[in-house]
Amino acid sequence: MSAVPQNLRPDLAAIAAMIRPGARVLDVGCGDGALLEHLVATRGVDGRGIEISQANVNACVARGLAVVQGDADTDLADYPAQAFDAVILSQTIQATEKPATVLSHLLRIGRRTAVSLPNFGYWKVRAALLVGGRMPRTRSLDYSWYETPNIHLCTLADFVDLTVACGATIVEAHALEESGLATPMNPRRLTHGLLGPNLSAQGGVFLLKKA
């Protein structure tokens, strides 16, 4: 595995490790282009992005990336099937209006789909609600309930259910610790009684393909 820059978010580093050199990659919700730029520089990918924020698109354009300002909820339908080797959706699915539709489009557009997401089953989140009695605010999801863009939060187990509903096969799965450490996990064993990654992981990274 190639060196990962210090500033690359842990989930992005985990996704980067899943991308084959030279692949055609579409990063949906690519932010300021940090991951795409990293993939271009270290893996020689042919990268494209979709990003909703104008300022972020400008940052991507200044990095020489090809990024279309748009919305995952509305724009994915315009992309042809199997156009990309890999499609990436990092920390974005929880902010989409129709996660199932978005995931179905990703599975159609890419031969592989890499998804990272926050785990609302993480024990600190559960504890915040149980003890605090208010909607949890975490470091990565630091919004009040009434202004959060994260309208479709779920647990890792919930997400695995969605992959089944969308007809996807899980090729790889990694639990993301708060420290940034990514460890392989068995998506069929996310819960052991109360324990397991569904409780212990802050987030997850999945590599999917159409079954």
Binding site: R24, L65, A66, V67, V68, D78
Partner: protein, 384 residues
Amino acid sequence: MTDAPRFARPATRPADVGLAVTLPGPLALDCGRSLSPVTIAYMTYGKLNAARSNAILICHALTGDQFVASDNPVTGKPGWWTSMVGPGKPIDTDRFFVICANVVGGCMGSTGPTENDPATGKPYGLDFPLITVPDMVRSQKMLIDHLGIEKLLAVAGGSMGGMQVLQWAASYPDHVRAVVPIACAARHSAQNIAFHEVGRQAIMADPDWHGGKYAEAGTFPSKGLAVARMAAHITYVSEAALQRKFGRNLQNRAALSFQFAPDFQIESYLHHQGATFVDRFDANSYLYITRAMDYFDLAAEHGGVLADAFRDSPVRFCIISFSSDWLFPPSVNKQIAHALNAVAAKVSFVEISTDKGHDAFLLHEPEMFDTVRGFLNHAATDVI
């Protein structure tokens, strides 16, 4: 270089149209005719580097001209894109060699209907052949060849300029590295054509038009051309901006006059737009250039599939649109991005939030400046 006077309207014609070159041609036109020789009036800014790798061509819009970054000799006003082009500006003339040419069919020194037909010694008038956006671009390629530039770093422009930019990418993909089409479309819509037809009919309904031979008649269809400009100007601004600037405010009066004199500020504003326009633009040129835009349909050249215009294109695209532009709305600009995506071209697309309508591309839009600066800086990496 040409030195003969080329203008028949003395009061408003520029003595100095900047640089001009008369090329032997022929310039083969889409209508089947050709022009030879063909004169192209142009301006340059900055210095061409030794490697000839820092040239950027700017394409002007319907009523623009070659004076993109220096004072216009007709109006005495600053160039039409000084916010974008100049020393330290997003298109930085300290780094880039900027070229802007008056389109063929124009009225600022390039071969057009106001020029004398070599066959008759009189102004072409309506004997001038119909020209198209591809014709304009072919003539620009002749100029670029004449200047000894093998490959442009970039081609940029808004509105009709954006159409030329798209045509450049489609026609000469190996002669341009990066393109910036702004507030444009790959084809003129029915609504676009409709507004242009209103303008043309206004010109041709003016008794002073004389079937296009007003130069011989010693007249000028100012009223018709002014109405054409007034109608067009409405399409360049957004409803919200008109409301914000003028609302129902009255002009120099406290109450309605119960007459047809202009009561409202918006009426005076439009009259002003019309009046200043006829002092700088030719009526026949307006007919020809609006027609060129109407005829533009890049997909039609490629069996109706826009994506095929860009198949295997090595060109990098940065498409810029404006949220309140209803002449070339963001959705229409985005269709170009989708076509480019379908053939895996390197395309970026931005939609800038503004209430300034179509004309936003000419105005102070810091996000647009950031987009263009970042895109061009990266495109220039490893080249200059």
